[in-house]
């Protein structure tokens, strides 16, 4: 299977720049991966707008659920696609169409989601594309949190990380 290689700098740049994420394929079930990712990203300070036509109008983790990307009435820098590769294509095209009005910069497809043709269209339209990755795992990996679970983060450095200090 082909592996997509993204530099740590690219991923960190995305995670530093983006403030609002539209999460397509959000689930209301607490033990679904998309629910885990949404809750985690909220804890890290991102605003996450859930998208799921079946749940439109309901509230999920304090946010209103929208039926589609076009219904979200505010800008979102990133679209995180929690759907299979087949479903991803039309969602990517919708993101391309909404790029200017919603100030979209990044299209991110989850672990296992690989849609090369759609990715090429998005890149041609000036969007940054990440495929086959989970933003929760990448955030954790690059901020030492994945390491706490005993996992190989792949991060080797003698630099001291700067911490944002906040009392809780």
């Amino acid at each position: 299977m082909q592996q997509w290689v993204y530099s740590d700098a690219l991923i960190l740049g995305i995670l530093d720049r983006v403030e609002t994420i539209a999460l397509v394929g959000a689930s209301a079930k607490w033990n679904r991966p998309s629910f885990f990712a949404m809750k985690y990203l909220q804890e890290k300070g991102y605003r996450v707008i859930p998208v799921n036509p079946g749940l439109a109008g309901q509230e999920l983790l304090g946010e209103r659920v929208y039926a589609g990307l076009g219904e979200i009435p505010l800008p979102f820098g990133m679209v995180d696609i929690f759907r299979n590769a087949e479903a991803a294509g039309p969602i990517v095209d919708r993101a391309i169409a909404l790029k200017e009005s919603r100030k979209i910069e990044v299209v991110w497809m989850q672990l296992g989601v690989i849609a090369c043709a759609a990715a090429a269209r998005a890149e041609a339209a000036g969007l940054t594309v990440v495929m086959d990755r989970c933003p929760k795992i990448e955030y954790g990996r690059l901020h030492s949190e994945l390491s706490w679970g005993g996992f190989d983060s792949g991060v080797i450095t003698a630099k001291r990380r700067r911490l944002k200090v906040a009392w809780s």
Binding site: W30, N31, R32, P33, F35, F36, K39, Y40, E43, L111, G112, I137, G140, S144, E145, L146, S147, W148, G149, G150, F151, D152, S153, G154, V155, I156, T157, A158, K159, R160, R161, R162, L163, S168
Partner: protein, 427 residues
């Protein structure tokens, strides 16, 4: 990615960035039982496994996690779980795969303690272990099937010096839909990385070469992250909803993080064999010099083995690094940088000569351990393999006349000189 850095670099750096709060360069020993939550919601997220973080040191500890990450990196695995001893690691590796009435298949050439653990103690859980000569690949193929939960072997066996044909065993395991679990204690990831040959899980007694100086007990299970636990119904712990976590299915939710997440959140939580942070720190220190030490261990072992082959009191030497070894070909394939430093030799004088030799040496420590910077000597028949039957001892390469060496890092001529005077003194 760490794979781009060399093995030596990762032996020193993987898992241990400078500690960000204080800047401490050496890894702190987090000697704490528990960890403060930010608020009630953070606590809930941690207990639901929705966020990364520490709750209680039975499940995870920062110093132990640093060792886990380093071992995962060195083996080329996804994640690892460090535990109180090598035996605890074997229990932890099999626990998610087994249940009462289930069967796994293990090599007859395993370390004697493993044979006792698998054949006697695990039986009390209703776990059936079927022992097979894993050199006989046809017999292994015939023995495994839809109900087999795992194939278990050592890459380089303690003490007989047998080398497993990992690639062939991995193919047999794959055909049977079960994981290949490899005890890589004697080889260490410097000499052999079983995942590169298709193994699914690796276990270690970190007590041995990884720590390297006999200071700390420890064990590790490393997961390749590649086995699909949901492919059959055999591995329900990882593929079916887990009642203790409100019906969460580990593989579905955690993907390739599932095995290691389960090992911390369920197995360590309930079996409790956590590693102490002090021991993890000592093993991290030891790993810094693993590549240098293993090179010297192998060089000294070859020199000692060559000497023994020339001594008239010695009947045979079983070291996979010698041209005389039947495992020479497998060793060149799986252990190209050296065949380790634990091996056996036979004395013409049998049991009594063996028992006498261990008393006649003065520089070799007579004790039950391997993988120390000091050279160690043991007569297995009268010690570690005492609990086994004569037939089991023979199969494990620990017959009456057998002496086991763990060749250390001293001056090779001194080690040979001491063995020579002791061998010369045998009647």
């Amino acid at each position: 990615m760490s794979r781009e850095f060399g093995f030596e670099t990762r032996s020193i750096h993987a898992g241990t960035q400078p500690e960000p709060v204080t800047g401490a360069r050496q890894t702190p020993i987090f000697q704490t039982a528990s960890y403060v939550f930010h608020d009630a919601d953070h606590a809930a997220s941690l207990f639901n496994l929705q966020t990364f973080g520490f709750v209680y040191s039975r499940l995870g500890n920062p110093t132990v996690a640093a060792l886990e990450e380093r071992l995962a990196s060195l083996e080329g695995g996804r994640g690892s779980t460090c535990v109180a001893s090598g035996h605890a690691a074997q229990l932890l590796a099999l626990f998610p795969l087994m249940e009462a009435g289930a069967e796994f298949v293990a090599s007859t050439r395993l370390y004697g303690g493993s044979i006792t653990q698998f054949g006697k103690t695990f039986k009390k859980f209703g776990w059936q272990c079927r022992f097979l000569d894993m050199d006989d690949l046809e017999a292994v193929k015939a023995a495994v099937g839809e109900d087999t939960r795992a194939l278990f072997c050592e890459s380089l066996a303690n003490p007989g010096g047998a080398v497993s044909d990992l690639e062939s065993l991995a193919r047999i395991a794959e055909g049977a839909g079960c994981p290949l679990v490899v005890d890589n204690t004697l080889a260490t990831p410097f000499l052999c990385r079983p995942f590169e040959f298709g193994a699914d899980l690796v276990v270690h007694s970190t007590t041995k070469f990884l720590t390297g100086n006999g200071t700390a007990m420890g064990g590790a299970v490393i997961d390749s992250g590649r086995f699909d636990w949901s492919k059959s119904r055999r591995f329900a712990s990882l593929s079916a909803p887990e009642p203790a976590y409100h019906g969460l299915a580990f593989q579905e939710t955690f993907g390739d993080l599932a095995f290691t997440t389960f090992s911390h959140a369920v197995t360590l939580r309930d079996l409790g064999a956590a590693q102490s942070p002090m021991n993890a720190f000592l093993t991290l220190l030891g790993l810094e010099t693993l590549p240098l030490r293993m090179e010297r261990h192998c060089r000294n072992a070859l020199a000692v083995a060559r000497f023994l082959e020339t001594h008239p009191a010695v009947a045979w030497v079983s070291y996979a690094g010698l041209p005389s070894s039947p495992y020479r070909g497998l060793a060149q394939r799986y252990l190209p940088a050296g065949a380790g430093s634990v091996f056996t030799f036979g004395l013409k004088g049998g049991y009594r000569a063996g028992a006498r030799l261990v008393e006649a040496v003065a520089l070799w420590s007579h004790l039950a351990n391997v993988g120390d910077s000091r050279s160690l000597i043991l007569h297995p028949a009268s010690t570690t393999h005492r609990q086994l039957t004569a037939a089991q001892r023979q199969a494990a390469g620990a017959g009456d006349e057998v002496v086991r060496l763990s060749v250390g890092l001293e001056t090779a001529a001194d080690l040979i000189g001491d063995l020579q005077q002791a061998l010369d003194s045998l009647p």
